[in-house]
């Protein structure tokens, strides 16, 4: 016993003098550490999300070739299919839905094996849309800061102005009359009827939005109308059917809308722009990393 203690390499010496460095003890501790490390790594490997192979994770209803079928999707589908709460669905009903989902997953996997993404136009379209959608999802998940939205609003103010509205008359001068004289009379306060003017019937429905007035009058006449003040009468405007005269009753021009009133719209536009930029960047990235060869005659 005395010999064993005295000898630094004795079978029990390494456990006695903990304050003395000892080769065997170091080796054993290192081996134990390595074993524990391997154990933890193995546990992590088989339980980390997406890599589990030993058992069905709690959030999944099944694994099909290690692709999870979400329990939440099973619940949603069972509820939708049978129109009852999941708790009231029988075991057979649940199993039938799960079988359907497993079948779908198997067919999706088989489809990928068969290269349907290359051949089937619907699959291709769905993949493109889903990839674009994924970018949109990522963009929408992060809420922009308030000052970013403010800045967007400040630089796009006209986009958030109210729609202009106007109430006006469009008169058609009788053929053979002096249109300039008619305009002068109208401006002086004469009634349209006393001058023999008749309406074109295009803007007789009362107040309308600018876009509607533009559609009814056409671009050239609308461009004149939108600058007119209340009560103003335009110069005669030649048209294929004669001389047209615009008489503005009320012109409510677009006015800027306060930030708070359009905040939801600002947020929507900001995110849409972000998505567009991300998709553009994604497109450039994909092109950059891809090996694209174009036929000589198409370059």
């Amino acid at each position: 016993m005395t010999n064993q203690i005295a000898s630094p390499d004795g079978p029990r010496a390494w456990t006695r003098d903990l304050d003395k460095p000892m080769a065997r003890r170091s080796l054993l501790l290192a081996a134990a550490g390595a074993l524990i490390g391997l154990g933890i790594a193995g546990y992590g490997l088989f339980t980390a999300q997406g890599t589990r192979t030993a058992s069905v994770p709690a959030e999944d209803a099944a694994l099909v070739n290690n692709v999870p079928v979400l329990r939440a999707d099973l619940i949603a589908q069972t509820t939708a299919l049978h129109g009852i709460p999941y708790a009231q669905a029988s075991q057979a009903q649940r199993k039938a839905v799960l079988d359907g989902m497993i079948r779908e997953e198997l067919y999706v996997q088989r489809g990928i094996e068969m290269g349907l993404a290359n051949d089937d136009i619907d699959v291709r379209q769905a993949l493109v849309q889903a990839t674009e959608g994924q970018i949109a999802q990522d963009a929408a998940t992060a809420k922009p800061a308030e000052d970013e939205l403010r800045h967007w609003y400040d630089t796009h103010r006209t986009q958030y102005a109210s729609e202009g509205m106007m109430t006006l008359h469009e008169w058609l001068a009788p053929r053979g009359t002096d249109a300039a004289r008619l305009v002068a009379s109208l401006r002086a306060g004469a009634t349209p009827a006393s001058l023999g003017l008749r309406t074109t019937g295009r803007v007789d429905d009362g107040e309308e939005f600018y876009f509607a007035a533009e559609e009814h009058l056409g671009k050239p006449l609308f461009a004149i109308a939108r600058t007119m003040a209340d009560g103003a009468v335009s110069d005669p405007q030649p048209a294929p059917d004669g001389m047209h005269i615009l008489q503005m009753v009320r012109n409510r021009r677009p006015v800027p809308t306060a930030y708070d009133a359009v905040r939801d719209q600002v947020l929507r536009d900001f995110i849409a722009d972000k998505v567009a930029r991300l998709q553009d960047g994604n497109n450039r990235f994909l092109r950059k990393r891809a090996d694209i060869k174009i036929a000589a005659d198409l370059k």
Partner: protein, 257 residues
């Protein structure tokens, strides 16, 4: 040979004093981790609709869910879940649900797949058309409305809460409601349709505010609120927990707990 001090522990006892606490600590850490994992797994495996009624699952889910809510949802819905009418973030503390019946699994679907968030499994069926624009709805051919028609519709909606100021406009509003195609989403009885997120127009719950100006603006410029799809951001356990937490907000409020 000097006798060892009576105060010094023998070598074996010293070793044990060093090793035992370490083993105990390690065991405790593993037990806590396993217990936590087990509880989280229990929340995931349970029927979502029963979690709030099970004290143990409820406690686990609400504790985790509150943290997730604060980090990912409170920015729009507010720390107390009361929502924000400026951006159309709905009040989660009432029981008036825009989409679905407010079951935990439906809320989880929204959290996972979003609303108009680019995920086809999300709720993307309809938007509120912008009737003061040349093309009110890109997906469906609907006629733009005149300012007077929009005013009539506004008066009609105000009339359900006795706030209309022009009875003639209310009567016109009923005609416009049919002519403009509003009934297609909101129903003939204006009661809305939770299957597509069309709100009930006859109550006093307003996602974007219920003042006359707010209503006028909704009809004129349309609405298309979004909710992010967190399916790729949050883990299944986080999704389930935050969903249960959101469901609990309306229960707490209504039940007075």
């Amino acid at each position: 040979m000097t006798a060892p001090s009576s105060k010094a522990a023998p070598p074996r006892a010293r070793r044990l004093l060093l090793i035992l606490p370490l083993i105990a600590l390690g065991t405790l850490a593993i037990a806590v981790a396993m217990s936590h994992g087990g509880k989280a797994a229990g929340v995931l495996r349970a029927d979502p609709e029963t979690i709030l009624d099970d004290p143990a699952l409820r406690e686990t889910a609400l504790k985790a869910g509150k943290e997730v809510f604060a980090q990912h949802c409170a920015a729009c819905h507010g720390e107390n879940g009361k929502g924000d009418t400026r951006i159309g973030a709905s009040d989660l503390t009432d029981r008036d649900r825009l989409y679905g019946d407010g079951t935990v699994s439906q809320i989880e679907d929204i959290a996972r797949y979003g609303i108009r968030a680019g995920n086809k499994r999300g709720w993307n069926l309809a938007v509120m058309p912008a009737y003061a624009s040349p093309v009110p709805d890109k997906a469906e051919a609907l006629p733009p409305q005149k300012p007077a028609d929009i005013e009539a519709l506004t008066q009609l909606l105000l009339s359900f809460t006795a706030r209309a100021t022009d009875e003639a406009a209310v009567a016109r509003g009923r005609l416009v409601y049919s002519k403009a195609g509003c009934w297609d989403c909101h129903g003939r009885d204006l009661g809305g349709d939770p299957a597509i997120g069309a709100p009930n127009l006859t109550d006093d719950v307003w996602i974007y505010g219920g003042r006359a100006d707010d209503i006028r603006r909704s009809i004129s410029h349309g609405r298309a609120g979004t909710s992010p799809a967190f399916g790729r951001t949050l883990t299944p356990a986080q999704l389930r927990s935050v969903t249960v937490y959101v469901a609990s907000l309306s229960r707490t409020e209504q039940d007075g707990k």
